[in-house]
């Protein structure tokens, strides 16, 4: 086995595995039990886990052996308290004579029999009869052993407190004596021991660099180059973590941003106008007569304050007045036109653009916030956005209008098919309503469009065809965002905003 093999093995070892391997190599016979190896730095649990790891890398083998553990018996426990022959012998010693008559010692008769037997057996005393009385005379061996501690009691108390195995802390001779006195018994136990394998033996202990375990890499570790001596605590990468919230675009606005990009990509310039409009731009300039149902084309808000705006361009005002009076046959008045209102549609922006001047060819759009008096519910908003747009060019015709609408349906709505229906708007003729077939929503009304009437364009000094449309985008946004309640477009639910996927 060469070095590179070793180093790849070592790199795959955990800190504990390295420690354990190191300890095993240090032991002469290259094998040891778990008990022998454990200490406070490496408890048996850690050893067992590391041993399994080392074994799986074929560096060690885990083996088991049977061991004979000495167990103290009930008799042994009483023997630990008192050994009869020692009790008798010590009494004799303390009497000061080597030879005594047993009766003179006043010993419990129950003990005497056993004690006499063992005094003789252990050759501690010679027992004889003299004048019918039992005479005990201590031998030299007896005197000597009685003056040293009682090995029987020592061993028994050790057996009681610790693990004592045969031939480990107790000799076979001692065991057979104690066994003969029924003081101990043997219980067989399995013991796990670890043995170095050939591969393990080939590893030099100095190769086994044991690192410090850390959970967080720090600047200091990097600065001091200490990280090289560290082992990074292994994380359970499958565990869930605490949720964090990014800064995020509002989903509806994100949708409108995309829409703006698409329209710019299609060559449209953006228009903007005031949220509060005069009726002049909201209605009059759009050829909606002041006292006619066409003005009720949609319900609208009025303002208490401020009430009246200004009509700035007198030329346009006179031209609009003339168009109304000659076509609708009534007296047009500027007072009503000065009334202020939150704009009801985006078409006023197109009218303003025509008045400000247009490029030819020109394409214009606006994503316009509009206001109509609806009750807020699942399908109605009190404010909504409309994509308003116009294209101006001498070449334009109704067929082109249908082409643009179809392009929008496909580019913006992802529609597969479109259908066109006659419709009515006071400011366009011909007028058209488009339905687009959405793959999932089915046929959806997409919005109204038409060619601006001459009565609208001419007073604004535009003499070429202008095709125009105002499309509702909210339903489309609902589809893109997969919501069935339109109020979510203006959601005040932070959970929804946080959960909504951005792609």
């Amino acid at each position: 086995m060469n070095v590179s093999d070793n180093s790849s093995i070592i790199n795959n070892l955990s800190n504990d595995e390295k420690l354990l391997l190191k300890r095993l190599i240090a032991i002469k016979n290259e094998k040891a039990t778990v008990t022998e190896l454990e200490d406070k730095d490496m408890p048996s649990v850690a050893i067992n886990r590391a041993a399994l790891g080392l074994e799986s890398k074929r560096l060690i083998t885990i083996k088991e052996s049977l061991k004979k553990r000495i167990i103290i018996t009930k008799e042994g426990k009483s023997l630990k308290k008192s050994v009869p022959e020692r009790e008798v012998g010590e009494k004799i010693v303390s009497s000061g004579c080597k030879v005594v008559f047993l009766d003179d010692l006043g010993i419990d008769k129950r003990v005497v029999g056993i004690a006499m037997g063992w005094l003789r057996k252990r050759e501690w005393a010679i027992v004889s009869k003299e004048d019918g009385k039992i005479k005990v005379s201590l031998t030299e061996k007896g005197i000597k052993e009685l003056s040293s501690p009682s090995w029987i009691q020592e061993i028994l108390s050790k057996v009681e407190k610790e693990c004592v195995y045969l031939d480990e802390g107790i000799s076979s001779e001692q065991y057979s004596i104690l066994k003969g006195r029924k003081a101990v018994d043997i219980r067989e136990e399995k013991e796990r021991y670890l043995e170095l394998e050939v591969r393990g033996r080939e590893i030099a202990p100095e190769e086994l660099l044991v690192h410090k375990k850390i959970s967080q890499l720090t600047a200091e570790l990097l600065r001091n180059n200490k990280w090289r001596d560290c082992e990074f605590k292994r994380f359970d990468v499958s565990l869930p973590v605490k949720r964090i919230y990014p800064g995020k675009k509002q989903p509806y606005l994100a949708f409108l941003d995309d829409l703006r990009s698409t329209l710019v990509a299609l060559g449209f310039q953006e228009m903007r106008g005031p949220l509060i409009e005069t009726e002049f731009w909201n209605f009059d300039a759009l050829f909606q007569p002041q006292n006619h149902p066409a003005r009720d084309w949609t319900d609208t808000y009025r303002l208490i304050h401020p009430k009246k705006g200004h009509l700035i361009d007198e030329g346009v005002v006179q031209a609009v007045k003339a168009a109304h009076e000659s076509s609708w046959k009534y007296m047009w008045g500027p007072e009503k036109a000065r009334n202020l209102m939150p704009r009801a549609h985006g078409t006023c922006l197109s009218a303003r653009q025509l008045q400000m001047g247009i490029e030819v060819p020109g394409k214009y759009f606006s994503i316009a916030r509009c206001f109509r008096p609806d009750v807020l519910d699942k399908t109605h908003l009190i404010e909504f956005n409309q994509i308003e747009g116009i294209i101006c060019d001498p070449s334009l015709n109704f067929k082109n209008l249908l082409g643009v609408l179809k392009q929008f349906a496909i580019e913006i709505a992802g529609a597969k098919d479109v259908r066109f229906y006659p419709d009515y708007y006071p400011f366009t003729e011909p007028s058209v309503q488009m339905s687009a077939k959405h793959p999932e929503l089915g046929w959806v009304e997409f919005g109204g469009a038409g060619i601006f009437r001459k009565e609208l364009t001419e007073p604004l000094d535009v003499s070429i065809p202008v095709i125009a449309w105002g499309l509702g985008v909210d339903r489309l946004a609902m589809f893109k965002l997969e919501i069935d309640d339109i109020r979510f477009l203006f959601s005040d639910d932070i959970v929804w905003l946080r959960d909504e996927a951005m792609i």
Binding site: N400, P422, Y424
Partner: protein, 553 residues
């Protein structure tokens, strides 16, 4: 747009051809209608054109469908039979309700379906075309119960009592305005003067009190009625003539014979209905270039015929003739739309124009997007809320008194949406108050338009974009908000400073005004605990709001 109810059986009978619902769904488009609901035989139709009352009835729809299906073609032939029936108009009505036009229709066979159409057309004309009876009111009288000549005259409030419809006892005109449901509903149309208009016959029988109510005796049309007298009153004789033409044309479609009435004004007499055809010239080239389709002469004549026009062509100029139940034709484009409808919108192949133009967003749109993306980069959740708000949210809960420059709605749907906001902070507060049980920190921002009055503006209102952000969590404070503001300003290249200020919505000593180029452009501070309490929130909030559009200019 008016919604009308028609009967499928009735339509089939008038067309002389059984029509299925599917067919009708398609065909109704040619009459600018759209089916909105079906209830057995009865079909609800949205009539899209507010300027085409001639299409607001079964009879009008059938007239168009006869053309579409080729049952008839060209201008309908409605004969107006001359009669010697006279009506005399009282000059005293000059300032009350000066004009009146009339007609008599005879030989009617009225069934339930027909009757319901008569009532509906009368109502829709008065409601939509007649601006809730102000401009046009229509009365239909049983001609057999009256004796001409008729007098359209002024009455004093306590004279000429008659039994109004649905009543049993005679009421004076004054009582009608005070007690009859229709009187109460429409009295504002007449009660500015001390005389009211009524129609009486030569026996002094009251026919009707326009624009309020017919008499029970003469003004109740039933399936027994054979001959009727129509009165249309209002202010503009041309408008009234159109309304009368629409009504008699409908009766004529049902086979009624229309008789003229001579209306005698003090200075002139006119014979109505006036069904003199109107002629209009259009260049053929203009039709084709407007629609973008090539049509030959015979196509144009046929398509116009389908739409109930007579047409002839001479030297590429088309002379179009139609009956004056239509008043909507002001320009060639109105006729061109009819040609287009007859051709079929979906038979035109859409063609995207190939115009080279350069797309551009507004400079402000680009800047707003950058500002928003910067706030997102600073970790803020974007929100969008309504411009409409209310005094309580904008001022009451914010410990403010309402300033004078507030834009307020006269006819709000609900008080909660009655004022257009002049600042965004209350919208952030409202949002936070709805989310008190969700994870904090809740760091929000909004870039939206706000409005306030401005006498220098054309619309007396200044609307511009502001930016507001809020920091809301247990450690939110002035410093944290200031760090974000600082970062925002640094990254947008705007130099600013903050000066000590006071503001009732913010905690004293933790509030400053944001100065840019020596002008006050915004506010930064910790929200006053009382304001936080008012919104039911239990966390400190630091807010910054400033005039984004103005500082980006």
């Amino acid at each position: 747009m008016p919604t009308i109810t028609i009967s499928k059986d009735d339509i089939s009978r008038l067309l002389g051809k059984e029509i299925s619902l599917e067919e009708l769904d398609e065909l109704i488009l040619y009459a600018k209608g759209e089916i909105d609901g079906v209830d057995g035989d009865l079909i609800k139709v949205d009539q899209k054109d507010t300027n085409r009352p001639d299409l607001w009835s079964t009879e009008g729809i059938v007239r168009q469908l006869r053309g579409t299906l080729g049952v008839e073609s060209g201008m309908p032939n409605y004969e107006i039979i001359k009669s010697d029936i006279n009506i005399y108009v009282d000059p005293l009505l000059k300032d009350v309700r000066p004009c009146c036009v009339n007609a008599v229709v005879k030989g009617l066979d009225i069934d339930e379906a027909f009757l319901s159409q008569i009532i509906q057309l009368q109502e829709k004309i008065a409601l939509t075309f007649g601006r809730k009876r102000r401009e046009v009111a229509v009365g239909i009288i049983d001609f057999d119960k009256i004796t001409p000549p008729i007098y359209y005259k002024a009455t004093k409030p306590d004279e000429n009592a008659f039994i109004p419809l649905a009543f049993e006892k005679p009421l004076t005109p004054r009582d009608i305005l005070e007690r009859h449901p229709k009187g109460k509903e429409y009295r504002h149309l007449v009660d500015k003067s001390e005389i009211y208009p009524i129609l009486v016959d030569s026996d002094g029988v009251v026919l009707t009190m326009p624009p309020i109510i017919n008499s029970e005796h003469t003004g109740k049309v039933t399936t027994e009625t054979k001959n009727i007298f129509i009165d249309v009153t209002g202010f503009n004789i041309e408008t009234l003539k159109t309304a009368l033409n629409v009504i008699v044309s409908a009766f004529a479609e049902r086979g009624g014979k229309v008789y003229s009435v001579t209306v005698n004004y003090p200075d002139e007499s006119i014979s109505v209905p006036d069904m003199t055809p109107v002629t209009f010239s259009i260049e053929k080239q203009y039709i084709c270039s407007t629609l973008g389709i090539d049509l030959d002469n015979s196509d144009i004549i046929r398509l116009l015929g389908n739409m109930r026009y007579d047409a002839t062509i001479k030297d590429e100029t088309i002379s179009v003739t139609y009956l004056p139940y239509r008043k909507d034709i002001m320009h060639a484009s109105d006729v061109i739309e009819d040609i287009c409808i007859a051709y079929g919108y979906n038979n035109i192949l859409p063609e995207t124009p190939t115009l080279y133009t350069i797309g551009r967003q507004l400079p402000i749109s680009r800047k707003l997007l950058i500002a928003r993306e910067l706030m997102i980069g600073l970790g803020f959740q974007e929100i969008v809320s309504f411009t409409l708000s209310n005094n309580e949210a904008l001022f009451g809960k914010m410990r403010l008194s309402r300033p004078d420059d507030i834009v307020e709605i006269e006819n709000p749907v609900a008080v909660s949406w009655s004022v257009l906001r002049n600042w965004l902070t209350p919208s952030l507060m409202a949002f936070l108050s709805k989310n008190t049980h969700h994870d904090y920190p809740q760091n929000l921002f909004e870039v939206s338009e706000v409005v306030s009055t401005d006498e220098n503006k054309e619309t007396m209102v200044d609307s511009r974009y502001k930016l507001a952000f809020s920091i809301c969590h247990s450690q939110a404070n002035y410093t944290k908000a200031r760090e974000v503001l600082d970062s925002f300003m640094l990254n947008t290249g705007i130099s600013y400073c903050v000066e000590t200020d006071t503001h009732p919505s913010f905690l004293d000593g933790r509030i400053g005004k944001i100065m840019v180029n020596g002008k006050e452009r915004g506010i930064i501070g910790e929200i006053h605990p009382e304001v936080i309490e008012n919104w039911g929130i239990e966390s400190p909030i630091a807010i910054v709001e400033f005039e984004l559009e103005k500082i980006l200019e």
